[in-house]
C-alpha cells in the first residue's frame, strides 16, 4: 500500500520553470545586453567588468561563509552586514598611513589589515559569545566601524599613489586583471575551506541544521565564530581592492557595496544545484551583478533604474525560491 500520489506532468514542468526562473531571467537580461549594448562583449569591456567587480566579489565570498555557517534565514541565521564597512575602514587606514602619515606600504598594511580582522573578532564575540542575533550585532558594528573610518579619514577623500596599489588597479597577469586575481585567490581559499575540508563540511551541516549538527557531535560555536573571522579576512583583502579601484579611500563607499553584497550572495544560491548559498555562487553572482550595472550603463539606461532592477531581481529570486519550496511539498 503506497499513499504517494504522482504529480501530474504539467506540474513538474511548472516546477522546473519556477526553480530556474531567476536563472532564466538573468540569462535573458544578459543576452539582451549582449545583443543591444554596444561593445558589451568586447574584451575590453569584459576586462573592465572583472576589474570593477573585484571588491564586491571578495566581500560576497566572505559573506557566503557566514551565511553557510549560520543558516540562510537572514534574521536568525548567519549574516555579516559589517563587511563593507570593515573593508572601507581598512582602505581608510591604509590610505591615511600612505598619504597622510607617509609610511611605507608594509607599515600601512600592518596597521590596516589587523583592524579589519578586529572587526571580525568583535562580531564573533557579539554573536557567539554574547548571543546577539547576527543581523543586529553586525549592523551595530557596521555603524561603529563607519564612525571610526570617519574619525581616521576626517571624513575626507584621501588619494593614494603607490606603485603596488596602482598595479593592483591596472596590472594583469596573463591577461587576468590583478584585482580579479586577488578575488580569485580569496575565492579559492574560502571555497577550499568550505567545500573541500572537514571543517567546511561541518560548517555546512551546522548552518543547515543545528539539531543535526549537535546530534552528530559537531563543535558549533567554534565553527561559527571562525566563519566571522574568515569573512573579516576576506574583507581585509577587499580593503586593498577597494583602495586600488578608487586610487584611495572615499567616505561612504561602503553603502552601495552593502546591498549589492547581499544581493550577489543570495543570487548565487540560485545557481547551485542544491539551492543553497555557496562560495562560487557568490563569486558568480558578484560578477553578474556588476555586468548588469555595466551593461545598463552602456545602454545609457537611466542609472536610477538600475537599483530598481536589482531590487526586482532579488525579489524574483526569493519568490522563485518560496514557490519552489511550496511546489516541492
Amino acid at each position: 500500500m503506497s499513499l504517494a500520489i504522482s504529480a501530474p506532468s504539467s506540474r513538474a514542468w511548472l516546477a522546473g520553470l519556477v526553480s530556474h526562473a531567476a536563472l532564466i531571467v538573468l540569462t535573458l537580461l544578459l543576452a539582451y545586453l549582449a545583443l543591444r549594448a554596444p561593445n558589451f562583449l568586447d574584451a575590453q569591456n569584459l576586462t573592465a567588468i572583472l576589474r570593477q567587480s573585484a571588491p564586491l566579489a571578495i566581500l560576497a565570498c566572505g559573506l557566503s561563509v557566514v551565511v553557510i555557517g549560520g543558516g540562510d534565514d537572514v534574521v536568525s541565521g548567519g549574516i555579516d552586514l559589517s563587511l563593507p564597512a570593515a573593508a572601507v575602514l581598512g582602505a581608510g587606514i591604509i590610505s591615511y598611513q600612505l598619504s597622510v602619515a607617509g609610511s611605507g606600504l608594509g607599515t600601512a598594511l600592518l596597521f590596516g589589515l589587523p583592524a579589519v580582522l578586529a572587526v571580525g573578532a568583535a562580531n564573533s564575540l557579539l554573536v557567539v559569545g554574547i548571543g546577539l542575533t547576527p543581523l543586529l550585532a553586525t549592523l551595530a558594528t557596521s555603524v561603529a566601524v563607519s564612525g571610526l573610518t570617519k574619525l581616521i579619514t576626517s571624513n575626507r577623500r584621501i588619494n593614494v599613489s603607490n606603485r603596488a596599489i596602482d598595479w593592483v588597479r591596472d596590472g594583469d597577469i596573463g591577461g587576468i586583471p590583478a584585482s580579479m586575481l586577488l578575488a580569485l585567490l580569496v575565492f579559492a581559499g574560502l571555497a577550499f575551506l568550505v567545500h573541500r575540508t572537514r571543517w567546511g563540511a561541518h560548517l555546512q551541516a551546522i548552518g543547515a541544521s543545528r539539531a543535526v549538527a549537535s546530534l552528530t557531535g559537531l563543535p558549533t560555536r567554534k565553527s561559527v565564530a571562525l566563519s566571522y573571522g574568515l569573512a573579516a579576512a576576506a574583507a581585509a583583502v577587499a580593503a586593498i581592492a577597494i583602495l586600488a579601484r578608487g586610487s584611495g579611500s572615499s567616505p561612504g563607499s561602503e553603502e552601495p557595496l552593502l546591498l549589492e553584497m547581499v544581493l550577489a550572495t543570495f543570487l548565487g544560491g540560485a545557481f547551485s544545484r542544491r539551492r543553497i548559498v555557496t562560495v562560487w555562487g557568490a563569486l558568480l553572482g558578484a560578477v553578474l551583478v556588476t555586468a548588469l550595472s555595466t551593461g545598463f550603463a552602456l545602454l545609457q539606461v537611466n542609472i536610477f533604474w538600475v537599483s530598481g532592477i536589482k531590487g526586482g531581481l532579488i525579489l524574483l529570486v526569493l519568490v522563485a525560491a518560496a514557490l519552489d519550496e511550496r511546489l516541492r511539498r
Binding site: G129, L139, A144, K150, G308, G312, L318
Partner: protein
C-alpha cells in the same frame, strides 16, 4: 548554546544597566557641558528625537510581530513626497496632504505585506527588495536624487514642524500622539495582544484561531503609514523633499527597539522601552554635540556606545 557563566550579582546590575548608564551620561554631560541642562536644550533633545521616535515605534510594532522592516526609510520618503505632491501640484490643504502621505506610505507597507504574507518571503529580504525598488523610484522621480524644494508652503502644513501648541513644538506633540497611540495599540488592545502572541509563538497563535497572515499584513501597512508622519515632519521642517532621507533612521530605529527590549523583564519589544531607547540615543547625540567634539569623533563615539549598549542588552538576556 551555552556561553560563559556570569557571577550572580551581575544579573540585577545588567537588568538596570541601561538606566544606570543613561543616568551616568546625564550627570556626565551636565557637568562637562553646563548648557546641557538648560530647558531649551532639553526641548531640543525631544524635538530632534521626534521623527526617530515615530519610526522606532513603527519598528517596535513590527519586531513585536516577529518581523523586521528595512524599508521604513522608503515609507518615510514616500510620506514626504506624497504630501509635497498634494500640496504643490494639487494645491491641497494641509490635512489632505497628511492623508496623501499616509496613503503613499501605506502603499509601501502593502507591497511588503504582499511579499511577506502573500508570497512567503522572509521579512528581511522582502523589505530589502522593497528598499531597493523604493530608492530607485525616488531617484527616477527626482532625476538623480536632488531635493525638490517648495518654498511657498501653505502655513498650515509648515506649522506641522514650525508651530507649537501651548509652547510645545508641534513635532513633539505629533510624536507624543503617535507614542500614546502605539502604547494603546500594543499594550491595551486585542489587536496588540494577538500581535504579541504571533511574535512569540506563531504556531500557537494559529492554533488559537488567530489569522496570523492577516495580522502581519496589517502590522506592516500600519507601521509604514505611521512612518509617513515622520516624512511629513521632515518635509515641513525643510520645506522640501529630500530623496533617501528616511534611510538614516533605519538603524537607530532598530537599535532603539532592541535597547528598549532589554529593559523588559522578558526582553520583549515594548513602547515605553522604545521611548527610553530613543531618548538614550538622543541624549548621546546631543551631549556629544555640546561637548564641542569634532563631528567625526562624535560619530565614532556614538557608534561605539551603540555597540556597547547592545552588548549589554545581550548580556542581560543571557543573565535572564
Amino acid at each position: 548554546m551555552t556561553a560563559f557563566a556570569l557571577p550572580r550579582f551581575v544579573a540585577p546590575l545588567l537588568r538596570h544597566s541601561l538606566i544606570l548608564i543613561l543616568i551616568a551620561l546625564l550627570v556626565f554631560f551636565s557637568i562637562q557641558a553646563p548648557a546641557f541642562t538648560a530647558p531649551t536644550n532639553l526641548l531640543t533633545i525631544l524635538e530632534s528625537s521626534a521623527v526617530l521616535l515615530i519610526v522606532a515605534l513603527a519598528m517596535t510594532l513590527i519586531i513585536a510581530s516577529g518581523g523586521i522592516d528595512l524599508s521604513v526609510g522608503v515609507a518615510i520618503d514616500f510620506g514626504a513626497v506624497f504630501a509635497l505632491i498634494a500640496l504643490k501640484d494639487f494645491g491641497a490643504p494641509w490635512y489632505v496632504a497628511i492623508f496623501a502621505a499616509l496613503a503613499g506610505a501605506a502603499l509601501v507597507g502593502a507591497f511588503n505585506a504582499l511579499l511577506i504574507v502573500g508570497l512567503g518571503i522572509r521579512p528581511f529580504l522582502a523589505t530589502l527588495g522593497t528598499f531597493f525598488i523604493g530608492s530607485s523610484i525616488q531617484r527616477i522621480y527626482t532625476d538623480g536624487g536632488g531635493p525638490i524644494a517648495f518654498r511657498r508652503m501653505e502655513q498650515g502644513f509648515r506649522d506641522l514642524a514650525a508651530g507649537n501648541i501651548a509652547g510645545i513644538p508641534m513635532e513633539i506633540v505629533i510624536a507624543a500622539v503617535v507614542l500614546v497611540g502605539y502604547y494603546l495599540l500594543l499594550e491595551r488592545t486585542n489587536f496588540g495582544q494577538r500581535v504579541h502572541a504571533i511574535g512569540l509563538q506563531p504556531r500557537a497563535a494559529r492554533v488559537a484561531g488567530i489569522r496570523v497572515g492577516r495580522h502581519v499584513a496589517v502590522v506592516f501597512i500600519l507601521a509604514a503609514a505611521s512612518c509617513a508622519l515622520g516624512g511629513v515632519i521632515l518635509a515641513a521642517t525643510l520645506r522640501q523633499f529630500t530623496p533617501l532621507a528616511g534611510q538614516s533612521y533605519l538603524l537607530d530605529a532598530i537599535a532603539a527597539t532592541f535597547i528598549g527590549a532589554s529593559i523588559h523583564p522578558r526582553l520583549r519589544p515594548n513602547v515605553p522601552g522604545t521611548l527610553l531607547g530613543v531618548l538614550f540615543l538622543g541624549v548621546v547625540a546631543n551631549g556629544l554635540n555640546l561637548l564641542g567634539l569634532d563631528f567625526n569623533l562624535k560619530s565614532a563615539l556614538s557608534g561605539l556606545i551603540l555597540v556597547g549598549a547592545l552588548a549589554l542588552a545581550g548580556l542581560r538576556g543571557r543573565a535572564g
